[in-house]
């Protein structure tokens, strides 16, 4: 078992003919992910790294019997791509795209509630379940199979942590990047729940940052329900108030959205919080 993806994941790539879509299709294939199809409107019939391209998600689903889709299209087409995937009843949709307008995502989220699809992201690095399932852009050379679950808002910070785990000899059950946008398809809490239920996972790393209340809610969940130990790191202790720090979601707007408040809440909930990413491995021992 593992979270969301595993060896039987059959993936289609929306935006497969684009620069990023094509590059990461190759990376995912290399890792062993079954990329069974791609979608670019108007490019059906082509092939990308040996993967057939279709003109619609529906056609790709029909031809390939896929169960997962990853979205690499530019932000102004990404909302449409998510709706297309939902309407084609893709069970798991992972949206890598950064820069989707918030209003669009609120509409997507409301629509998602009436469907059976799960959306991860947007603005996320995706999911990796070593040794051979990767959906998204997480570098795979820094991860080996193991029993540590990772849930994170960010990309690069997560990779830093994964590498230090790798160097310290730890392996990962699944790493899920939930994304850093204000409106996300899947919340940190939902991933914590899944880790708690996952027999492959023994300990969980939570990587957060300023902005929103996701980490506060995670702390509430950890305190009330979580049975497995959690180690955390929160970025942005020194970020100025009211300024958007890169991510659309990374902004201190009220007391609960500061790094300090989140660190305090998680600590109170029993999680162990690292001072800097490279200390996380020590706290896992």
């Amino acid at each position: 078992m593992s979270l969301f993806i595993n060896a039987s994941t059959r993936l289609i790539v929306q935006g497969i003919t684009g620069k990023h879509g094509s590059f990461h299709t190759q990376e995912m294939l290399k890792y062993g992910t079954m990329v069974v199809g791609g979608v670019t409107h108007g490019r059906g019939g082509e092939w990308v790294h040996g993967v057939p391209v279709f003109d619609s998600v529906k056609a790709a689903m029909y031809a390939t019997d896929a169960n997962t889709s990853v979205i690499f299209v530019p932000p102004r087409f990404a909302t449409d791509a998510i709706f297309e995937a939902i309407d084609a009843q893709v069970p798991l949709i992972v949206c890598i795209t950064e820069g989707i307008p918030v209003y669009d995502m609120m509409r997507v989220y409301a629509y998602l509630q009436t469907s059976n699809s799960r959306l991860i992201g947007p603005n996320c690095p995706g999911i990796i379940t070593p040794p051979n399932a990767k959906v998204g852009i997480i570098p795979s050379e820094i991860v080996r199979p193991g029993n540590i679950g990772i849930v994170s808002k960010s990309g690069a910070l997560t990779y830093e942590v994964m590498q230090s785990l790798f160097q310290a000899g730890f392996g990962v059950s699944t790493c899920v990047g939930v994304g850093a946008d204000p409106i996300l398809g899947t919340s940190m809490v939902e991933v914590l729940e899944a880790f708690d239920d996952d027999p492959e996972t023994e300990k969980v790393i939570l990587l957060g940052e300023i902005g929103g209340r996701a980490e506060i809610r995670a702390a509430e969940y950890i305190q009330r329900y979580m049975t497995k130990p959690v180690v955390g790191f929160i970025a942005g202790k020194t970020a100025p108030n009211g300024v958007r720090m890169g991510h659309a979601g990374a902004i201190v707007e009220d007391g609960d959205s500061t790094a300090i408040a989140k660190i305090q809440a998680l600590t109170r909930a029993g999680a162990r919080i690292a001072e800097q990413p490279e200390h996380i491995a020590d706290l896992l021992r």
Partner: protein
């Protein structure tokens, strides 16, 4: 993107919200010739992208043309507490019996827009809501079906608004919601709203923020971007598509990813030497190409305070060879006497390392960990400061 008061009012007015008669002064010549038909006293309001203008003396009352001219001259094109005043709004002073608060804002926790209203105006509504929860009413809005009148009316009910005002209150809320949707706003706020017999509800002050990610489909708003008072550096960052936050220290943090950039900032602050801190936050985002890196470094180098740069990239979407190419190009082009500590990992990291090494530039130094990168940067700054 934040809008000026007069811009927010202009947009709200398009959607049916009453606003006081006003006149915008952007040029000192306008005021020399100014003789618009106002009844004194009128408000003189310096336009800045911040609240609490009264305490900066940016909201005044004028009783004569003489006073108007004098006040405008004093405000226009000045900088108050770091805020530039590019224009001054002259405005009818509205005298209303009661003042109200209303806003439509994205509720991140509910993942929906929310209508917020209060019979209490002015000040910070979030703080007020905490201390007086009974006096602030909210209704979450389903973005697929929009704001229903029954919801606006239930807010009126909850606030015990006099019943003869309910329909007008609903119309105001509907107008604000249409404006919010039309312009991809993340906040539309009228605070305070007055109620007068002449106009009904009327916006005394207004704020609006528009989603940066939606500007591509908001040509009207986008055309206002040039009016924003931005430094050359901020303009460069906007063009390059990098996220730039200026800070007061000496170490520029050029990173792909906000969380990692903030982590490096945090680590720099906690390094021990309180005199050595970050100079800026520069998030080049996912999938940056060489050109974007050049522009980011240009921004970093253009700050006189910058004594060292940390360029830490963990490539997922981003390809480290592109990053390395950009760094080398920037040094070839600008040849700054500043050290850049480079940490490259992830996608195509080896290619990146090679490009850096082959370039053979003395000011480029590699680091293997975040801790090492921060230490090398702090040492470099220390060397220059001592």
């Amino acid at each position: 993107m934040k809008l000026y008061e007069y811009q927010a009012k202009e947009l709200l007015h398009k959607f049916g919200v009453n606003i006081p008669k006003n006149y915008l002064i952007t040029d000192v010549h306008q005021i020399e010739q100014f003789d618009a038909p106002f009844n004194y006293p009128i408000y003189i309001k310096g336009q800045v992208l911040a609240g609490g203008r009264a305490k900066y003396n940016l909201i005044k009352e004028a009783n004569s043309l003489e006073e108007v001219r004098h006040m405008v001259m004093t405000m226009l094109n000045t900088t108050v507490d770091g805020l530039f005043v590019p224009s001054v709004l002259l405005e009818d002073k509205v005298i209303g019996d009661n003042l109200y608060y209303m806003s439509i804002v994205n509720d991140r926790n509910a993942r929906k827009p929310v209508l917020v209203a209060s019979l209490q105006s002015g000040g910070d509504i979030e703080e007020f809501a905490k201390s007086h929860p009974q006096q602030v009413a909210k209704q979450l809005i389903n973005p697929l079906t929009g704001l229903h009148s029954y919801q606006a009316l239930s807010v009126a009910d909850e606030l015990n608004l006099p019943r003869h005002l309910w329909r007008a209150f609903d119309e105001l809320a509907q107008a604000m919601y249409r404006c919010y949707v039309h312009y991809d706003a993340t906040l539309v706020e009228i605070n305070p709203i007055a109620y007068t017999h002449e106009y009904g509800f009327i916006a005394v002050d207004a704020k609006m923020k528009v989603d940066d990610n939606a500007l591509y489909r908001q040509p009207d708003i986008l055309s206002w971007q040039h009016i924003l008072h931005m430094s050359d550096t901020e303009k460069l960052a906007l063009e390059a598509g990098v996220s730039y936050v200026k800070l007061d220290g000496q170490i520029a943090c050029v990173v792909n990813g906000a969380a990692l950039a903030m982590t490096i900032m945090d680590m720099t602050y906690s390094h021990g030497d309180a005199n050595i801190t970050p100079a800026c936050f520069l998030d080049i985002g996912g999938g940056a190409d060489a050109d974007r890196v050049v522009k980011a470094l240009k921004i970093a180098f253009s700050d006189e305070n910058v004594k060292a740069v940390i360029c830490s990239i963990f490539g997922g979407m981003t390809r480290c060879d592109e990053i390395a190419t950009g760094i080398v190009q920037a040094y070839r082009l600008l040849n700054p006497n500043i050290k850049t500590i480079i940490k490259l990992q992830g996608t195509n990291a080896l290619l990146g390392w090679e490009i850096i090494q082959n370039a053979n530039i003395g000011n480029l130094q590699m680091a293997m960990s975040l801790g090492e990168a921060v230490k090398l940067a702090v040492d470099a700054v220390g060397g220059m400061l001592s």
